[in-house]
Symmetry: C2
Subunit: 366 residues, 2 copies
């Protein structure tokens, strides 16, 4: 199918019909195929039980779903369903694994000492976020308030996005090697880690971002199974990482798009990330910490080398000093109330076709 | 009762008898009173449903429990029960609200630029932690591994404690004013936020601590209801905080003890904290972020002005440069395998008596 939601994709989501209970479905074209009639783990109304069951069950479920889809089932138009958060989030972790993004941010925010922090190429830097405020695409984003500096409280003036790719853990574990990545990670979502840059600048030393990012994190309503995606070789890393981060594991040639209202402003290339998702998971669990079903870890802002490939407006507008012109002629530095941001993505499927990752969108409200 | 677990206390916990299901109980003396026979929210085997029901139900439950206890129910000896995590943790947040601790850490780790960060007295600094690895007192603490510096991976050499007080959210909400604190917070636990200082020093810039603290956070098995505790006036704050952090709300005169093996090494005074728990909750939700039933937020390391009042071994041993001598004559800089740490606490009850907060302990294993 030309829209990227054919039988080579079949991403999972949770939907309701009017006044109905939650059901598991897969997206097909512009509609949803109800899976609840297939029974077992597909009839629970939640993706988490299937995700907890492990890779063998994931493969079996995908085969059963593919056979069902091939049999020509009813397809419920998207306009007739409400989409929900596709899984219940356990812990939410966010990384910082684009070298281009880290260098851009450093140059913009710390011009006196630009460059990567000393450990950046030795480990994938990350931090924990707030799982309570992970919301599904389409949820309005209320402009956060907070301290903008000493003695000043109000709505953020520097509301930004971070275009990211999220990885959803199915099988629990700890000390997960990079080679075990596909045994533990169920699939992929798109993530927008909304950020208030003025709150962040004031609050972040020495314990990192807190309220600047805890008000909302949006995810796409479809979890694309890892099995649907083609892999590509990971990029070269210098210095060579420590043993627990080797081999790097698969990379993915996901191509993101960022639309600000009706204007395509950026096309971040996920293949340009420095650290792979397998390395991120290995690092996250390398101290003995456990991951659970429903854990979401995001890649960090995806920025490529080009100015039109950045994953944040901080970078796009050089911290607001170089506004961008949208299709309607208006200028933007950061987000205004009423603005809509939609992050989309496409991928090469395991079958060699181009498939869609869907999109994650949100409109800013006062 | 002389041990601090009389009818003026009645903290809640979750226990099992041999091969039994989970039950809610309250501690009385050296035993547990089973509450499952009282029905309703007390018969669910989990504290979360009661916590979610709101303050009116909390008061009614406490009255019912007190009446039951007064009727002379069977008391199951502690040795016959297994204690579990007393509530299911939603999001875990940790603050940094002791001025003495922040100044000590700064002087020890950043001697070239000691002092508080610029925003420290304007807002309670905090960060998100890992809720998956919150464990109940008594759980063995496996020494974490990680990067100790560039190119070096191994067991931490600087395993430390952080003696803290945790606040458990019952009623969900957002933008919670300091005056609404007692409507949302159900009770208090003791917290040990185990920390690997070498991992932390290498990883923490610019996004804060991550693996240095995500391997384990221990909590005491008893949640002392807020209703059991006497309040004291909060300390003076200069500069005056912004409006959303005023009034400061209640403070609590909790007195902690830190035992390293059999040696009492410190007595951190919670009353010396700069920011109150009501201000922490107000700040946490001031951007619009929601809290949920089961959210745990910890005070940050409790350190008083005296060298024998610090809540971490980093401070006690000046980052290992001034080892302490334990009762058996041995010296310690940081934790060794086999070491046991027990953090205890007492409080003044609402009835004017002295009550116990129980204790949180853990033994280090390789």
């Amino acid at each position: 199918m030309s829209d990227g939601f054919g039988p080579d994709n079949l991403p999972y989501g949770v939907f309701t019909l009017a006044r109905g209970e939650r059901r598991l479905g897969v997206r097909l074209g512009n509609g949803v195929v109800d899976l609840s009639g297939l029974g077992g783990l597909l009839a629970t109304g939640s993706l988490n039980p299937l995700m907890a069951a492990g890779r063998q069950e994931w493969t079996a479920a995908r085969e059963a779903v593919a056979a069902h889809v091939a049999s020509g089932p009813p397809v419920i138009p998207l306009r007739d369903v409400t989409l929900h958060l596709p899984f219940e989030v356990a812990d939410y972790t966010d990384f910082y694994s684009s070298e281009h993004h880290a260098l851009n941010v450093s140059a913009i925010l710390r011009p006196d000492s630009p460059g990567l922090s000393p450990q950046w190429k030795h480990l994938p830097i990350g931090y924990h976020g707030r799982s309570a405020t992970v919301v599904v695409s389409g949820t309005p984003i209320v402009r956060p308030t907070g301290q903008l500096g000493a003695g000043e409280f109000g709505p953020t003036r520097r509301l930004d996005i971070e275009a990211e790719v999220g990885f959803v853990v199915g099988t629990p574990g700890r000390r997960i090697s990079t080679g075990e990545f596909a045994e533990h990670v169920f699939g992929v979502t798109l993530v927008n880690d909304w950020s208030a840059r003025d709150l962040q600048a004031w609050e972040y030393r020495p314990l990192g971002p807190f309220l600047a990012k805890s008000f909302a994190t949006s995810v796409s309503p479809w979890v694309v199974p890892l099995d649907a995606l083609a892999t590509v070789p990971a990029g070269r890393q210098d210095p060579e990482p420590l043993g627990y981060l080797r081999p790097a594991g698969p990379a993915y040639d996901l191509r993101l798009t960022v639309e600000w209202n009706d204007t395509l402003v950026s096309t971040p290339p996920f293949a340009s990330m420095y650290w792979t998702p397998a390395q991120q998971l290995a690092h996250l669990t390398s101290n003995g910490a456990s991951v659970r079903t429903g854990d979401l870890y995001a890649s960090g802002t995806v920025s490529g080398p080009g100015r039109d490939q950045v994953g944040s407006f901080l970078e796009l507008t050089r911290n607001g000093t170089e506004p961008v012109k949208l299709a309607d002629g208006s200028l933007r530095d950061f987000l205004e109330n009423g603005d809509l941001v939609r992050i989309g993505g496409t991928a090469r499927s395991a079958a060699g076709t181009q498939i869609s990752l869907g999109s994650v969108s949100g409109t800013i409200v006062a």
